[in-house]
């Protein structure tokens, strides 16, 4: 049944409330029809309990301000806590038994925060635990403040407009260890350096058999009398590109699995100190490292959608064929992830492993 609405208030009866209303009607009819006078007293009591319920619930709902504190990161399928703060602006009257619900497209989600007693002039904060099953963008249109106080027969509520967008990142899955075998496992070691001519100067060390003579640091060698070689940070070797094939046509579940795998491998690589980039058919994220890059990657993966492979859609080939990318992770819906490393990067990685 539709809720009655008036001046922004809803007051649908609760289950017990329906029983109460039916009993009120029946007793009223009985009193009028039978002429049992004392029954009118009981009937009057019930009518005025309903009225009192309306008045008290209205007093409870008035003068309340509510605010929301979303968590910084939400992954699909993973519980998160949404903070809710409630402030009672009234001077004297406390509010009892207040519930606050988030609204999505004007409809409450199934989680709520409960405030037993909010004294006048005070703020209380709590949180609700919730899980969003799918990644993507969610728009919370506002908050619903409701109460069943004082008798639990009517749930009066009012909606507060407070729109906010939540971007739910893909669910994370376990990355197969075999896939990353040979790559640095921890951020500290991820910055281990080996011979390279491309990165920044890292340090000097003794010459070992097999070192390229071109790396000999002649000035130090002359000063010390033994050969020294210079080492540079191997920036090229610590860069990875995750390529997600978002061509339309794959089953939805497989696609979502692929997105989750892409997100998981991206975070794992970032965690290991790699500069990670991301490429789809219709978009890409340049490689970078650090927490900000994680947010960029996850946001892109949260919003990626399958694209038609016809005209207008970019092929993945340019990304996949980039020779300068040391590590390329190919993620295809319905297929296992593949890691392709260029030989010199693999060699360095193997040595560091």
């Amino acid at each position: 049944m539709r809720s009655l609405r008036s001046l922004g208030r809803r007051f649908p009866p609760t289950r017990e409330g329906w029983w109460f209303l039916v009993a009120t009607v029946v007793i009223g009819l009985g009193a009028v029809n039978a002429g049992l006078n004392l029954l009118f007293l009981v009937w009057g009591m019930m009518l005025f309990l309903i009225l009192a319920s309306g008045v008290l619930s209205e007093l409870g709902l008035r003068g309340l301000d509510v605010r929301r504190a979303p968590p910084p990161v939400i992954h699909a399928g993973t519980p998160y806590l949404m903070g809710i703060g409630l402030f009672n602006r009234k001077r004297r009257l406390p509010s009892f038994s207040i519930e606050v619900e988030d609204l999505e497209k004007g409809r409450p989600i199934e989680k709520r925060c409960y405030f037993l007693k909010l004294p006048a002039g005070r703020t209380q904060e709590t949180a609700y635990r919730h899980v969003l099953a799918r990644r993507g963008r969610y728009r919370l249109s506002g908050l619903r403040i409701s109460t069943k106080f004082p008798f639990g027969i009517i749930q009066k509520s009012r909606d507060v407009s407070d729109p906010v967008d939540l971007v739910v990142y893909p669910a994370l899955v376990a990355v197969p260890p075999a896939l990353l075998r040979g790559l640095p496992t921890r951020p500290g070691r991820g910055r281990d350096k080996w011979r390279s001519r491309h990165g920044d100067f890292f340090g000097l060390r003794d010459f070992r058999p097999g070192d390229d003579p071109r790396d000999i640091h002649w000035r130090t060698t002359a000063r010390r009398g033994v050969p020294f070689v210079r080492e540079n940070e191997d920036e090229e070797g610590m860069q990875a590109l995750v390529v997600l094939d978002n061509a339309a046509g794959a089953p939805s579940e497989a696609f979502e699995r692929a997105v989750s795998e892409a997100a998981s491998i991206s975070l794992e690589l970032l965690h290991r100190g790699f500069r990670v980039g991301l490429a789809f058919r219709d978009a890409s994220v340049p490689a970078d490292a650090g927490p900000a890059q994680a947010t960029r990657l996850l946001r892109a993966l949260a919003l990626v959608e399958p694209v038609a492979t016809g005209a207008g859609a970019s092929p993945l080939t340019p990304f996949e064929s980039r020779a300068h990318v040391p590590h390329l992770v190919r993620v295809r819906p319905g297929a296992a992830m593949e890691l392709r490393s260029v030989p010199w990067a693999s060699e360095g990685a193997r040595r560091q492993a």
Binding site: S6, N33, A34, G35, F40, W43, M45, A52, L116, Y128
Partner: protein, 740 residues
């Protein structure tokens, strides 16, 4: 006080209040009531987690079986009383369940059951309550129920919602239930004061609902089940020897009546003497056989009811013409309130001529003819075609309370009703004697009537003989088996009470050739000096005879010797009974006429009533009252909502949210000016408006300017305006609005 303890205490009190409401109806047997109170008290200690509670939990199955057994017994009792079910076993069952639940207060559901069962008790009490004590118990119940519903709601909500601790890493879990339930900070004195005030408002609202909802029928309650022995004297089969003994000490009030003639008597002794001469005629019997008085239900004896406007004239068509009634004789008016009638029969001062029911439409009471001038009082508690239909109430089970009617009777010292000769059939019915009577009865009758020239003289002779030769007693001797009890009374054991004297009188009259019948009713009444009314109790039940004296009509013959006078009730008892009288008349018997009467009284108090009001009020139909009530409520709601509109409420209130007196005064001034044809435009500021008024040369504009300054200073500057200043401005405001 701790929340949990408070909730428990209030729950127990609400149960007690509900029980008190039921107890005010006198329906409950004392043993049942005491047993419940014992269970109520014992269950207090059985909290969840205690040893006793654990023991009860282990014995849950036998206990439930016991409750089912009680249910079975009660159901059997109800079934045995069908088609006139007795509420007693049902109430016993409710009390049993309630006691069971009080011992099993484990969760919220149990508490909810307790509240529902308590409410059922109140509901039953509202249908059965006979005493004004119900009002006190009900008021208490309303306050406690309001509290307990709030506490129950809070408890349930906190158990289901509040005590859940959330964690992103682990599932949510309940914590701290005990801590919160034992908190002293959830509800306190201010909470109970505020919600108590609300509860009083609810009670006032229920009283207003009671007073204002238009009635479509007569008001009444079913009343308590009466002890069966009290009904014998008025039942369809009166067995000699039962009634007088059993009811002699019965103080149950049957009727209350206001008789203007009696009320006008100033002297107490004269009034007392007059009271003892009041015969309240009720049931009439024409057939006698072996100690049993019954009605032959001969159609020739059927009472006729002739309706003329609000009056219903009582007539015995066999020998009375339709024109008899208050129009022809100076009838004695009585307003009678039924408090606890043992049978659904109209009782009125002998001889009743006509009856007027205050409300004769819809559900309520109706008159129905019986025999020999007797009239039944029927009721339709659930409307036409309802559960009881249009039939007499279950006389053996419940009484009617709150019924009210006005009776008109032949004046005590006025001429009796003239009648025609009896038809042979009717004469034969009133002369019939059972063949079991021995010839010595007729011989006695002949002997007593010998020498009496007229029927009246014969009646007097027989009555004198009975009074002088027989002794009144309520300690009846054992009558021998096989002998007619009246014959035994006349010849062998000349002691008995009024039933024997009346029966002996009727038998002897018939044996001497005078048509006669046997009447049961009440003799005398008790004067209440506070309420100025008469109380007729069951212990005033009496029997007498009626003898037919030809065209002189029927003559009441009371052959019972006078018994010692009864003691008058004390002042305190009179006070209590007068409260009960007003309770019965104004609450239990509240009907449309009473409502109109109330409206008239209020109107007179308010100075609205002229001579025409009374007549106008009588013409107000019920639907108009409903319409007026709905309109008033709608106006109230509209006003409230309009105040609640954002923007508007802020414009007229202080920052604190209260409507300041200066604001109200300013609004009054604006209203006054608007009525004078000088309204303030929506775009005008108060000062611009005051300047325009001044320029227009309107008298009192200086007052408006002063008020405007006060208003703006209060509303926008937050300054308080002194009462004296405001009073002065208000006084001068009366001159505002006239053009100079």
């Amino acid at each position: 006080m701790r929340f949990q303890a408070t909730h428990k205490l209030i729950t127990y009190l609400v149960v007690l209040a509900a029980f008190a409401a039921l107890a005010s109806s006198d329906v409950l047997p004392a043993a049942t009531g005491l047993a419940f109170l014992g269970a109520w008290a014992l269950s207090w200690a059985v909290d969840p987690g205690t040893r006793v509670a654990a023991m009860l939990d282990r014995a849950a199955i036998p206990l439930r079986l016991g409750v089912f057994a009680v249910f079975g017994v009660c159901a059997l009792e109800v079934w045995r009383r069908l088609p006139e079910p007795d509420l007693g076993p049902v109430l016993t069952l409710i009390l049993t369940l309630l006691a069971f639940k009080l011992f099993h207060r484990r969760g919220n559901r149990d508490y909810l059951h307790i509240y529902v069962l308590s409410f059922l008790l109140v509901l039953a009490a509202s249908a059965l309550a006979a005493s004004f004590l119900f009002a006190a118990a009900f008021a208490l119940y309303v306050v406690l129920a309001t509290w307990t519903l709030i506490l129950f709601h809070l408890r349930r909500e906190m158990e289901e919602n509040y005590l859940v601790k959330h964690s992103a890493q682990a599932p949510s879990q309940k914590v701290g239930v005990t801590r919160i339930l034992n908190s002293r900070r959830v509800v306190g004195a201010s909470f109970f004061a505020a919600t108590g005030a609300l509860a009083i408002g609810v009670f006032a609202g229920s009283v207003a609902t009671f007073a204002l909802i238009p009635r479509v029928g007569a008001g009444f309650v079913l009343g308590a089940a009466r002890p069966t022995e009290n009904l014998i004297g008025f039942s369809d089969d009166v067995v000699l020897g039962h009634y007088g003994v059993l009811s002699s000490d019965n103080q149950v009030v049957a009727l209350r009546a206001t008789v203007p003639r009696v009320a006008r008597i100033a002297d107490d002794d004269v009034r007392e003497a007059e009271l003892e001469r009041l015969y309240w005629r009720g049931t009439v019997y024409d057939r006698y056989d072996r100690g049993h008085w019954t009605r032959s239900q001969d159609p020739a004896l059927r009472t006729a009811l002739d309706r003329a406007g609000a009056l219903t004239f009582i007539r015995e068509p066999a020998f009375e013409k339709p024109e008899h009634g208050p129009g022809n004789v100076a009838a004695e008016r009585q307003e009678i309130d039924v408090v606890g009638l043992p049978v659904p029969v109209v009782f009125a001062l002998d001889q009743p001529l006509a009856i007027e029911l205050p409300s004769s439409t819809g559900a309520g009471f109706r008159l129905h003819p019986r025999w020999s001038g007797e009239v039944a009082l029927r009721f339709r508690p659930f409307g036409p075609g309802g559960a009881h239909g249009d039939r007499e109430p279950p006389s053996a089970a419940y009484t009617l309370l709150g019924a009210r009617y006005i009776a008109y009777s032949v004046p005590a010292r006025g001429p009796s009703r003239a009648v025609e000769d009896l038809t042979p059939v009717v004469r034969a019915a009133y002369l019939a004697l059972p063949p079991s009577l021995s010839p010595r009865v007729e011989a006695l009758a002949r002997r007593l009537a010998a020498g009496a020239p007229t029927a009246r003289a014969r009646v007097t002779a027989i009555a004198d003989w009975l009074r002088t030769k027989h002794e009144y007693t309520t300690r009846l001797p054992r009558r021998p088996a096989g002998v007619d009890p009246v014959e035994d009374f006349l010849f062998d054991q000349p002691v008995g009470h009024c039933e024997y004297f009346a029966s002996g009188m009727v038998v002897l009259l018939r044996a001497s050739g005078i048509p006669a019948r046997y009447v049961n009713g009440y003799l005398g009444a008790e004067w209440n000096d506070i309420g100025k009314y008469l109380t007729i109790r069951d212990n005033r039940a009496h029997s007498w005879a009626e003898a037919y004296l030809g065209t002189g009509g029927w003559m009441r013959v009371d052959a019972t010797p006078a018994v010692a006078g009864r003691t008058r009730p004390g002042r305190l008892r009179q006070l209590i009974e007068s409260v009960d009288f007003y309770w019965t008349r104004w609450v239990v018997g509240y009907d449309l006429n009473r409502q109109l009467d109330l409206v008239r009284r209020v109107a007179r108090r308010l100075g609205l009533g002229g001579g025409g009001w009374s007549g106008a009020a009588r013409r107000v139909p019920g639907w108009a009252l409903v319409l007026a009530a709905v309109t008033a409520l709608a106006a109230l709601a509209s006003r409230r909502w309009s105040r609640a509109l954002p923007g508007r409420s802020l414009a007229w209130t202080q920052a604190g949210g209260r409507d300041a007196p200066v604001n109200r005064l300013y609004r009054r001034a604006l209203g006054r000016m608007a009525r004078a044809g000088f309204p303030r435009h929506p775009t005008e500021t108060p000062r611009e408006y005051a300047a325009r008024v001044t320029n227009a040369g309107i008298s009192g504009s200086d007052t408006l300017e002063r008020l405007t300054e006060l208003y703006t200073a209060s509303r926008f500057g937050g300054r308080q305006v002194e009462g004296e200043v405001l009073k002065d401005v208000a006084h001068r405001l009366s001159r505002l609005g006239a053009r100079e």
